[in-house]
Amino acid sequence: MKLFLFNLLLIFNWLIADIGHLNYIFEGKAFDKPIRIIIKTPGVVPGLADIIVKSFDQDFDKILVTPIVWKEANTNGRNSLGNGPQGAPPADIMIPILGERNTSQAELWLMDFGAYNIQIEFFKNNQSEIINIPINSIANQITPMTKSTSVILFLLMVLLIAGLSNIITIGYRESTLINIADLDSKTIQKSYYVQFLSLIFICFVLYFGNNWWKITEKSFMKNLFKPLDNQVNIINNDKQNILQIMITDDAWKDGRISDFIPDHGKIMHLYLLNENFEQLCHLHPKRSSKTHGLFEVVIPPIEYGRYFIYIDVTLESGSNQTLKNIIEYYPKNIKKQQDIYYLKIDQDDSFIKERSSYYFKWLNSSKTYNINDEINLNFQMLDTLNRPTIIEPYIQMGGHGAIVDSSGTVFIHIHPIGTISMASQELYDKEYNLQKSEICYFGLPDSSIKDYTEDSFKNSFLSFPPIIIDNPGKYFLWIQGKSNNEIITQKFEFNIINE
């Protein structure tokens, strides 16, 4: 069943950076005090995004929000006038939510496909600070009609059909008579035929309309977001089992879709998850020096089995994607290729080990949450004697998290600063600073090397922004952190219910 749903997901390509989850969460600072930004994207284009800003310790005089489209110059033959801040509409003022402390909200239309920078400007004491939040504007679903809307529209349709047929009938029967007494039985008889013919005509119109609707929907489906095509292989060079990921997407190979840029120091973040959700590897494939579209990583010492693959990448355009695939990791599927060189293992690669010196404790956790609940993600790292231990930075972060539902249709990659791509954010920050300084920037963005560990964890504690999950089901959460040079991967379980 899981595999079926996973494959269904591949067929429909309802994949984005994070899968089955349209919310972007960012936790950072404005005026040196913590703020949280939640952006709920609509899943259609053009569509209305919901932006919520929460500040914990301060009031702002004003908060402005602007959606800025980010495209590579001359993409699809379009000029670049509409891209970047020069093509952005006037900023919206965020409105405080009544009854909620220090919480403001705004709704913004996302009119175009692709990468957007939601620029939020905070004003306080005649000073301002800007935070750029990268999001993807994509169509990834067709919202079904609610039952009440269906019933109302159906009844109105019946009324309109009956009314139209009757109008045509009486129009034929009575409308040209000066005196209604002139109405003869022959005309009345004929009017029944007219009514019958009018119903056939209306049915034909409805049939035509339905076909047209199907064609429109088919065109829309073609526009549903599709992540880059990829193929995976497992090879062995006598010493190592190597996972190869080949990007086979023609648009990417031809350069119509921009290349990847590193996100917090890695060109790819790959999660390998076995079908029983017992093993999770967080790996970082590197680009092959021989083939541009080939990425390779050493498979750690894990058991054989069927594994789901989720690969997070950020593009130069500022958008980010989660690619997905499956491998059957069995000896019979491993090809011997002795000419493959020995691959250096990335020190930041991690997986669940049988024995660990430390573990994470989920603070104030619950086994079950409702779909609208905020799930607090606060953890403490302890040693085997339950003594707190100091957490060290792990890939420029305090920690990493992954949430997957039991059907494999929801995948969320979370960090202490939220679910956004840090590389995209740095790209927009750089663009904003360059705009401000009026320096022309011709180069490509460099790798994301910013250290995001500041304040994201303290001593033995590790905090992620709370998350809201809309889809009921059983969920698995993996938290990763580092202490005394040992990377710990800890699994948790919880349920989302709809009550």
Partner: protein
């Protein structure tokens, strides 16, 4: 003046409401092209819906008056109620317009905001609006047929007919930009709809030049919109913004329908005695020849520098979301759907010209049957 007073006040009100609906639609299209940000109760939507509701309520009033208070039943019987047929058409239109609102709202959430003018919920709305305007027109026509000596009804009828023509021209917006007026698709849809309205609504009128008047009123209406809307400042509130826009974007300049309409008016008395197919064939071919020649060259003018002024509004009628590119001022060879699909536009050649002639003839043939019914409508 005495004759004008004989016309019930609500006839003027219903025509005013119909005019508001048509202006509201054009304002809404300009709103989408200029400001972009849309909501259910935006000012243009309010104008359209209030216009529709006024027409519907006036007709509902007539229904109650006729059913419960008039001793002589002047209307047709509909599910136990009695009122002129036109009122039922108007009420049906109002219900269709109100139906389109939740349908369109869901459509936006499912497929995105108004990515194209011609979508299923918009067609339901267009059918509703068409019914309301048609109902208003037929209400006046019914009184005109019953009071042939009151010329006020004739004037009001010609005006109401021109509103129907305006509405058809709005439906054809996506085909009728000057850049598309060398395409087969433009001539195909134009040759079907325009002669249909001109012929069907000309014949019940007592004026010899009724088609020309209808076409002229249509053009004046459209030109006033082209000239007035850009006087109001507005700016895009949605991105990406590809054009520097500071006032409302004008609609496309109307097609020069009064010329083929004049040909119809002059020819019709001469061929009136022929059978319907013969009349349709002559009028259809003449319409196509005249319309094709006029619009072919007029569109070249509209794309030239000479038309970039307030009068013709070329260059001032492109929405903020259309990227500036090499196709400005050029005839399009292909169209791109809102979903990114490329559709090659047909070229006008002799075969396609014969095709549009046959469409036009068929359309006029049907319009004769409609016109003979309109001419005789009494209740």
């Amino acid at each position: 003046m005495k004759l004008a007073k004989q016309v019930p006040l609500y006839y003027y009100l219903i025509l005013l409401a119909s005019t508001a609906i048509v202006i509201g639609i054009q304002w809404d299209i300009s709103w989408h092209s200029t400001i972009g940000r849309d909501k259910l109760l935006s000012p243009p939507h309010l104008v359209v819906y209030i216009g529709g509701i006024i027409c519907g309520l006036i007709c509902t009033f007539i229904v109650f008056k006729n059913t419960f208070f008039n001793k002589i039943k002047e209307g047709v019987k509909f599910w136990g109620f009695n009122a002129p047929l036109a009122c039922w058409i108007c009420i049906w239109g109002m219900i269709a317009m109100l139906t389109s609102a939740p349908f369109d709202d869901w459509w936006h959430n499912a497929y995105g905001l108004d990515v194209q003018i011609i979508s299923p919920p918009h067609i339901v709305l267009a059918m509703g609006i068409f019914s309301v305007i048609l109902g208003s027109c037929i209400l006046i026509l019914t009184s005109k047929n019953l009071n042939p000596t009151n010329f006020i009804y004739d004037i009001l009828y010609v005006y109401a007919s021109s509103l129907i023509l305006v509405q058809f021209s709005i439906i054809l917006t996506e085909y009728s930009f000057a850049n598309k007026q060398h395409s087969y698709e433009f001539y195909k849809v134009s040759s079907i709809l325009y002669p249909f309205v001109l012929v069907a609504f000309k014949i019940p009128s007592k004026y010899k030049y009724a088609a020309t008047y209808i076409a002229l009123l249509y053009m004046i209406h459209r030109m006033l919109i082209v000239w007035i809307l850009p006087l109001f400042p507005a700016e895009p509130l949605l991105g990406p913004i590809y054009r520097d826009i500071t006032s409302y974007v004008a609609p496309y300049f109307p097609v020069l329908l009064f010329i083929p309409a004049l040909f119809i008016d002059v020819l019709y008395p001469k061929i009136e005695s022929l059978n319907t197919l013969q009349k349709s064939s002559i009028l259809g071919i003449v319409f196509c020849i005249v319309f094709f020649i006029i619009q072919w060259f007029f569109s070249i003018f509209l794309l030239s520098e000479y038309a970039k002024n307030w009068f013709f509004a070329s260059g001032n009628n492109i929405p903020y979301f259309i990227p500036q590119g090499g196709f400005d001022g050029m005839f399009f060879k292909y169209d791109i759907t809102p979903y990114g699909e490329k559709i090659v536009l047909g070229e006008m050649n002799i075969i396609n010209f014969f095709k549009i002639c046959s469409f036009s003839i068929s359309s006029i043939f049907i319009s004769f049957y409609l016109s003979s019914w309109l001419k005789n409508i009494k209740r």
